[in-house]
Symmetry: C2
Subunit: 286 residues, 2 copies
């Protein structure tokens, strides 16, 4: 089924108005294109739950802390449209940067606290850019539900807090991380890995599993869980650790003692490619 | 006609849903209560233009830079409700602070640039608090139109920029300042003036008029226009000037040369009471 392809705010609003008039629930999957199996899982979930399913494809310049990273983020719109259509997408919103930012942006959504650690610490301004563009997309599309992957756990927490604190009338639906058979979390950045880097990359997930296993086995200190993960990563000379933390899942702040559920989150570099992943660890009865 | 009085987000959304189902245009007049003739002008305009007219009454703690100013901002809900009902309000949203801020707020809407001067310079955090609560109210009420007074010109500019930059689906309607017969702009703060201060207060508007007259007569430098205004204010020993500026109406930044439309804006203190006012001056053919 061909999807409606909208390039402007006015076009996408007009397309969605037709569905809304028929009483359809609107679901939104915000993406930066370069769609892969992780996005497909979001789209399939949205398709099952919503009478009208929209995908946005927009590489958001204001969330990149490094210009070269923005420029490397090449999307292939025909491929992305084909994938969206194969999954039954009703409306694709793929605006140009000038449509989303016709003038220099002077209004930003700032999320305090949650962004002090993990990626927020290493990518200044990143989550401000994410929260701002997601707020814009929510105002443009007015979805009833929006779907986000758990792979970007800090991003998900930021969006959930934004929606709660600003009373946005949208339900955020988290979707489990999709992994390759060897455990590597699917990401558009995986394509940039050399064959050697790709072979080494599953160590990231293995390290998180080692930490989670330590927690499940009764480790009460974050240091102990981190040591188990770092032992795995240090065995891989291709991998440089940016951060590896045991955090409170609600605040994304590092904990020292493990007394409830935690999330183990890490960012690593393989050559010039940065990968992130995380695992949720439920509370362990002591 | 009795209005529907809603104290919670859920109640006001339910009340408005009924109007929306009937296809009514929703208009919102956001207020901090202590309603006066200025608010009445906003409400009357909204009543003429919208099938469903809502007034919010909420003294927003996060926009006060001084605790004592927040505490002095006493609203009298029964009087406010009576005025709203006399003007045909359909829905009054009067939440408690805990309903609007159930947890400490960690998400803020920041408006850069526009807030560097005038009130923004003297009231740190004020416009961040205003933009944040208005974003919350817009998400709760989802109005088609929202009405703001021109007396708070910098606030109006901030809201207009927020709506544009975040693609909010709401039309902002500016409404002309309402004045007492002697020219004093109507404000809830006027009640705090002593009889002597109230007698001196119209000098603020007279000063703005003197500056506007200088512009209309061909003054090309802001300094000349400001001197005309300051001459009026300096004749009043009761008045202390906080700022008096000739600004670009779009950016609210002070100008030195007058080459197009400008706004003359001032804040003054009479005793412990701070009053603001402003006048728009169209471009003068040279």
């Amino acid at each position: 089924m061909p999807a409606i392809l909208a390039a402007t705010v006015a076009e996408v609003r007009a397309a969605l108005a037709d569905f809304r008039r028929r009483g359809q629930l609107v679901g939104l999957v915000p993406t930066m294109g370069a769609l892969h199996a992780g996005h497909a899982a979001l789209i399939e979930r949205a398709r099952r739950e919503c009478g009208c399913m929209a995908v946005s494809i927009f590489v958001n310049p204001i969330q990149f802390d490094r210009r070269e990273d923005y420029e490397a983020y090449a999307i292939r719109l025909p491929d992305d449209v084909a994938l969206c259509e194969s999954l039954g997408t009703d409306v694709i919103f793929a605006p140009a940067a000038e449509e989303m930012y016709p003038a220099p942006q002077s209004v930003f959504v700032e999320v305090a606290g949650l962004t002090d650690h993990l990626c927020g610490r290493f990518r200044p301004g990143h989550f401000r850019g994410v929260a701002t563009v997601v707020a814009k997309l929510f105002h443009i599309v007015a979805p009833h539900r929006a779907y986000f992957g758990e792979k970007d756990a800090q991003q998900l927490a930021v969006i959930q807090r934004m929606v709660a604190d600003l009373n946005m009338p949208v339900e955020i639906v988290p979707v489990a991380t999709v992994r390759d058979p060897d455990g590597l979390a699917v990401s558009s950045r995986n394509r940039r890995l050399s064959p050697e880097e790709r072979r080494a990359a599953p160590a990231l997930f293995q390290a998180l599993q080692a930490a989670a296993q330590a927690v499940a086995s009764g480790a009460r200190s974050a240091a102990e869980a981190k040591a188990a993960a770092l032992a795995v990563l240090e065995a891989c000379p291709e991998i440089r650790v940016e951060y590896l933390e045991v955090v409170d899942p609600a605040t994304m702040a590092p904990v020292e003692q493990i007394s409830g559920p935690v999330r183990i989150a890490a960012a690593v570099w393989l050559g010039a490619t940065r990968l992130i992943d995380n695992l949720y660890c439920p509370a362990v009865a002591r």
